[in-house]
Symmetry: C2
Subunit: 143 residues, 2 copies
């Protein structure tokens, strides 16, 4: 279950952001895609029914959405970020190094470890990043 378009726009309003057609378009595009999209990919998609939108606006909208934790950011290996609608609760990613497919999985494998690290280092732990890199079945066959 992922956040609906409605909930996202509502949350934007609640935080005092204006609801422009551009923002609706970005939210619509990201909400209608099951995959993680890079900013540029999302830009292409949004342009299909909103040709006048600027790439900058997409960046700014994504920035707001990420800050409100309405979308989730993925640091897939290299130097590019991609986004998808946030799923409630914490989750992690399994990424195919060849085709870029992303599988989400969730669980609390790390709470125990986190508690131990807190105790041993005195850190106040705010979050973590857990990603597996590998090759999906299709790409294995393709070799």
């Amino acid at each position: 279950m992922r956040l609906s378009e409605k909930k996202i726009t509502a949350s934007l309003k609640r935080h005092g952001y204006k609801l422009t057609p551009q923002r609706r378009a970005v939210i619509g595009a990201i909400a209608s895609s099951p995959d993680h999209l890079t900013t540029t990919a999302l830009y292409q998609k949004v342009r299909q029914d909103h040709p006048a939108i600027g790439l900058v606006t997409v960046y700014r909208t994504l920035d707001i959405l990420a800050r409100l934790e309405l979308i989730c950011e993925l640091h897939a290996g290299g130097s590019c970020r991609s986004y998808t609608i946030a799923a409630p609760g914490h989750h992690h990613h399994l990424i195919c190094a060849d085709c870029g497919e992303v599988i989400d999985f969730s669980g609390h494998y790390l709470t125990e470890l986190e508690a131990r690290l807190c105790r041993e280092t005195g850190f106040e732990i705010e979050g973590h990043l857990l990603e597996f890199i590998g090759r999906c079945q299709d790409c294995q066959r393709a070799t």
Copy 2:
């Protein structure tokens, strides 16, 4: 315990890479720092006793060292990479969001999870990235 400068140069030679003064300088700089350094920070440091070196050479050297797994790469949150001498065995990072301090810890907390993901998704898992973000004791006090 971290790899010594000697072991690194030896490994470079063993893999057929030439041992130039520039490479020695980069290795010396990274080996003498206990911290993780970004490429640019490392470049500044190397220039202190090797002013003629080019940033490009630092990039290329780091690339080789990372490929040979002699140094380890850190994707600290944002879009910048930093490097430090590799510790033997696999390890993870605990990063202070305020001051950037990095604590290494090791363990095989993920092998079981990795096996389960393999089974369930058919992925061939090549590696993973596990980083905790938080605030160290000093920064907590500083608030």
